[in-house]
Structures are given as C-alpha cells and as structure tokens.
Symmetry: C2
Subunit: 285 residues, 2 copies
C-alpha cells in the first residue's frame, strides 16, 4: 500500500477507500459532530487482525438499534476494517470503527475505520497499574433500566462526560475514574470495565440492569475464568468492598488489563493474579 | 456573495472562509465526532443578524471553561458568524456556531458556523403549540450540583440522549419531551427551556442548582417579565403543579415559544398570555 498518511494513523472511509489522515471526511452538518449521534467500537490489533471483531460488531449492532441508526451490512464493515488493517504495519495497534448518522438534512451514515498506535502511557498502565479516583455518575444504579431513551448499554460518541471525568482525575494526579451510582455502587470507568477478585470468584458489574456498557474484553476474560481456576460472577459492589478484594482491574480493548494499584489515594498491594490474567489476554508488555 | 452552496445552508470555517455545504471539514480523528468533545450555540437569525449573539457567546465561554476547551478570541467568533450571515439571504434562519477539540493527536480546535432555514414543523410548533411527554433524565435533581465532571450547564455536542429522548416521544405521536428528575421535579427539554405561569409569576427552573442549561431566550423573556405585567421567578416544580398552571411553554432560540397544549396525553386549554409573550419575543409566525 502506497497511500500517503502520517505515521501512526490509517483512515478508510466506506465508499471512498483509504484517505490521508489529515483529509477532512465529515461535513459541517454531520450529526456525529453536531449532536454526538454516532456509535463506535475500538479493537486491539494484534498479528494484523482486529481481536474479537465479531463480538465488537455484535455490540455495534445493539448500539445501532438503540439509536435507530441504520448500519451497513456486516460484510461491508468487515471489509472496511480489513482495508484499514491492510495499510497498517505488522505492529500492535488499535482499530476504531465509527458510524455517524450522517448529514442533518438526510443522506447516508458516515462510516469509517482508523488504525493508530498504542501510546506509551497505555502500555505503562498495563505494566505498572493505575491510580483511580471514584466519582459520582449522577445516576441511581437502576435509573437507566427501564428508560431506553437514556441509551444505557449503547456505545455512542457522546463521550463529553467520559472525557471530562478522566480529565478531572488526571488534574489530581490519578490516571482514571471509577464511576459510582448515587446509591453507592461501583459502575464502570469512562472507557473500561471493572473486574475484581472476590475469593475464587472473578467478578464484574451486571450490564443489563445498570445501563453500563457490556465490556467485550472483560466478558472474554470472564468466559475463560475456569481455565484460570476461577468462577465468573456478576454482582453489584461498593467501593469499600473493593478495598478488601485481592485484585481490582479496569479492562478495555486497547489498554487491556490495568490493575488498580491506588484507589482514592490508598495504595493496594500488587495482586499475584495479575500476571496470570494478563497472560491469558495476550496483550504485549 | 457567489460561493456555491445548496439552498438552505451556508458553511464558514475559521481559517478557511466560506465552503460548500457538501464539502467535508472535519478529519476522521476530530474529537468532536470521535468523543462528542465539542460545544455549540444556536441563534435565531432575524433582519440579517444573530439575535442575542453576545449572550450566546457568553454561554459558549462558560461551556468551553467546563470542557477545558481553548476557544478562539470572541472577535474571531463574531467575524466568523458575520461571514456566514453575509452569505444568507434576508430571510429568517438559524445560525449555529460549533467548536470541537480538533484532531486527537493535537492541533487546533475546529471552529465553524452554519446558517440554515427554519423548518415547517418548527414554525407549526410556534403557531399551534406542541404535545409533550414527561420522561426521566435518570438524575436526582441536585446530582450534578457538586460534580463538575458531569458537565451540568455546558452545551456540548454530546446530545445522543437528547436526540434519543425526542425520538422516543415522536414514536408515540408527541413532539417533544420534558425531562423529570428521579425525585420528581421538571428539569428541561432536550433542546429547550421550561417556563410557566404561576398566577402573576413567570417561572423557570433554576439552572445552577440543577445542572440544566441556562436558556438564553427564556432568560431574555424573564428579564422582560415586568413589561408584560409579571414577576420573574426561579423555582422547582412538579408535573402535577404544571397541570394546574395557566400556561406552560418550551422556549428555545430557533423554535422560540412553543406552548405545551398536551402534556402526557392530557389536553390543556390555550393560554391567553401566549400571544403577548410571542409578540415580545418577536419570532415570525
């Protein structure tokens, strides 16, 4: 592939093919930029492939349903991902697939794929763990259960609160936030899923009843719990209970497994299980 | 002005000038489209001017502060708006000013202005009033007061829930939603501000303590309450209290004043004050 692009980023647009990364692709009236009306999935690129692509496309289909967003055929999405990956060197990376509602006055969705490098802070978080602050998400734990217009479980691009939450933590020297419901349960992080060890049980927060995002990488890990000698479980948890757990991690598709080593300014001992979980997940160091 | 654009939409981009409406202006990695990291203001265009431009730019500055988003000088924003308006015919319209965080790997914000026509359904809502359904916003009324990362009061482009709420209402034959807190107070609509008549008091919901958006057009109207023989007031209200009010309206910058004529499937008598309020606001029929 000879198409010109800045190092570290490939862009492919449905209906147009590969384009230079600095070339604009969205109109001023694209509802993705005007109203955050779009959905996305981010995947880990390893050995030239998007890891867990099928599961991510399944979740994208559920997100599209919740937004009444017309999605291209799955074959077209897979081919677009493959086109972007074909221009990426044989190195670790991240693939993001984005679908917006397109121009405000009608017209097809804007569909594009980008591949980009994994940053040094992301690799450091895998290796060294992270410092996390809890912060309210403003919702009672079951507020979104029977309110589909609140888009619980949909991975939309309307992430301003997600980004502001992470900025708030970073301004205080932490790396990430763990959102808490107004009634005191841990929910999820702005771009990752909470898992923890409760004895021999490898646990996560139930997605359907809480409106959090069902984490693809976390679900994959829990589906391999028995290989690791654990039992997978979904349950609600309070931060005080997490303080007593043998291990607590945030899991996401690109950062992979990041152990929470400091929670609300209190250091936690390193968990012996971290290396074992990381080995199963197979992210590079 | 001879620049080519489809009827009904003008686009001007900071640093580039007028561009065709169908020409892409945002890169694939623009954080406005990737993460809903952008802010906007929409204004009514009358007599070739953006009405209440200063107040909208003041609110945009507050939104930018809450998102830690670098905003161009106010002079540049005003000149950009004037450039877009210079290409608009002497007709009613809407001006939208948008600022996104720009490319993910750094680079300046993307700043653009668009002018577009007011739609027939919008004009019909002014004339005939609207049917509105109440729906939970998921938050307790004061959940966002002391949680700045939840971006209360910031007008961001992360509007997926706003749009989904309106779609939900429209699927049931209504035109709009009135969001309710989990503890039962009316808050705001997805793109407009609630006002109502309580005797001689023209009321709205307090913005600072609830995290709702401070409505520019509603505030302007309340600041003219005494000319209308009313006293302006900010207070919390429950839907059952609205049912007994002489008049209930949703107010926004482009639709202007829309009387709620049906609330949760119950018809309300037309309010005699609607014509008087509309005359002060000065939107065309």
């Amino acid at each position: 592939v000879t198409h010109d692009h800045p190092p570290g980023r490939v862009v492919a647009v449905l209906g147009r093919g590969l384009v230079a990364a600095d070339q604009p692709i969205l109109r001023a009236d694209d509802l993705g930029a005007l109203r955050g009306e779009g959905i996305f999935e981010t995947m880990h690129v390893r050995a030239g492939q998007a890891w867990l692509l099928d599961a991510h496309l399944d979740r994208m289909t559920r997100s599209a349903d919740r937004l009444s967003l017309p999605l291209p055929d799955r074959t077209q999405l897979v081919e677009l991902a493959e086109l972007a990956l074909s221009a990426w060197p044989a190195a670790e990376g991240a693939l993001r697939l984005s679908v917006t509602r397109g121009p405000e006055d009608g017209g097809p969705p804007t569909v594009y794929a980008t591949v980009f490098a994994v940053t040094a802070p992301t690799r450091a978080a895998r290796r060294d763990g992270i410092s996390v602050l809890t912060a309210s998400l403003g919702y009672p734990v079951h507020a979104r259960t029977s309110a589909p217009w609140l888009l619980g479980g949909a991975k939309t691009v309307s992430y301003a609160v997600n980004m502001a939450s992470q900025r708030w933590a970073q301004q205080q020297g932490a790396q990430d936030v763990l959102w808490i419901s107004t009634d005191g349960y841990a929910l999820e992080a702005p771009t990752s899923t909470l898992i923890w060890l409760d004895g021999r049980r490898l646990c996560t927060v139930p997605a359907t009843s809480t409106g959090i995002l069902a984490g693809i990488t976390a679900q994959w890990l829990l589906s391999h719990a028995d290989e690791l000698g654990y039992e997978a479980a979904e349950q609600l948890v309070r931060p005080a209970e997490l303080a007593g757990a043998a291990g607590v991690w945030l899991v996401s598709s690109v950062r992979g497994l990041a152990e929470i080593r400091i929670l609300d300014h209190v250091a936690r001992p390193a968990c012996e299980a971290t290396a074992k979980l990381a080995a199963v997940l197979g992210f590079p160091d």
